[in-house]
Amino acid sequence: MNDTLGVVVIVAALAVAAWCAIAAARNRPPDLSHVIGVAVVELAALVLTVVAVVAMIGGERPGEPGTFVGYLITFLGLPPVAVGLARMEPTRWGSVILTVACLVMPVLVVRLQQLWEATGA
């Protein structure tokens, strides 16, 4: 799996997590800037997913393909779900929801990389 893309997702997610945490600390609900931030993370996650799927079509296989695909789906699904829930919660806690989601994304990247490297591919 592409390590550079993984780093891009991790850095973007942590930056947006910090941005959302600032909103939460200031008792603000998420505004458009936070949603755009999460969208950027989602976009980076989407690029990483496409690259991984192309590699899998090309014959590379992670150790546990089922688990890997499960993580990929969670990885892509989490940001939109978090934005949806944050919109239902237009308080500081909406900002906390986005912060939590952005903190989980790097964990998912690391898990995806571990699963990918389990083959030695």
């Binding site: 829930l85 239902m88 919660e89 806690w93 906390v96 939590v100 989601a101």
Partner: protein, 146 residues
């Protein structure tokens, strides 16, 4: 302001519970589906933990007295489970040859499984104080509550 169990910080809890419900169920499904015979007890425990996270998520989403009671039961089982399994996995690692969510007090998940039920119980208690008819509303009542 009156706080409901499924809004405000409660919604953050729902998000975290939802993530755990999803990841614990997926993990248990893979473990039981592909290598059940290796460590049946540990994998059944994984499935139990997953079920509790699922029920807790649903209970928190539903809210109300029923949801609150169910969430209280789930958080209590979770706390007991993570403490019991955490202690047991440290005491004899051979009893838990493969990791569950609760092994090592949830070490593999950044100790979130240990903190989550405590936060859940705290949140349920806090919202119980100002929800429903006849609930304690002022400082005097709070002091005598429970």
């Amino acid at each position: 302001m009156r706080e409901r169990v499924n809004s405000g910080p409660g919604r953050v809890l729902i998000v975290v519970y939802g993530i755990f419900a999803l990841s614990a169920s997926a993990r248990a499904a893979v473990q039981i589906g592909t290598k059940f015979s290796e460590a049946p007890a540990a994998y059944l425990l994984s499935a139990l933990a997953a079920a509790i996270y699922l029920v807790a998520t649903v209970a928190l989403v539903r809210g109300g007295p029923g949801g609150r009671r169910l969430a209280l039961i789930c958080c209590s089982i979770e706390l007991a489970g993570v403490l019991a399994v955490g202690t047991a996995s440290l005491a004899s690692s051979s009893a838990f040859p493969d990791d569950t969510v609760w092994s090592g007090f949830g070490k593999g998940y950044g100790f979130v499984p240990l903190v989550l039920p405590i936060l859940g119980l705290y949140w349920l208690r806090r919202t119980a104080r100002n929800s429903g008819a006849g609930a304690a509303r002022n400082v005097d009542d709070l002091a005598g509550h429970e």
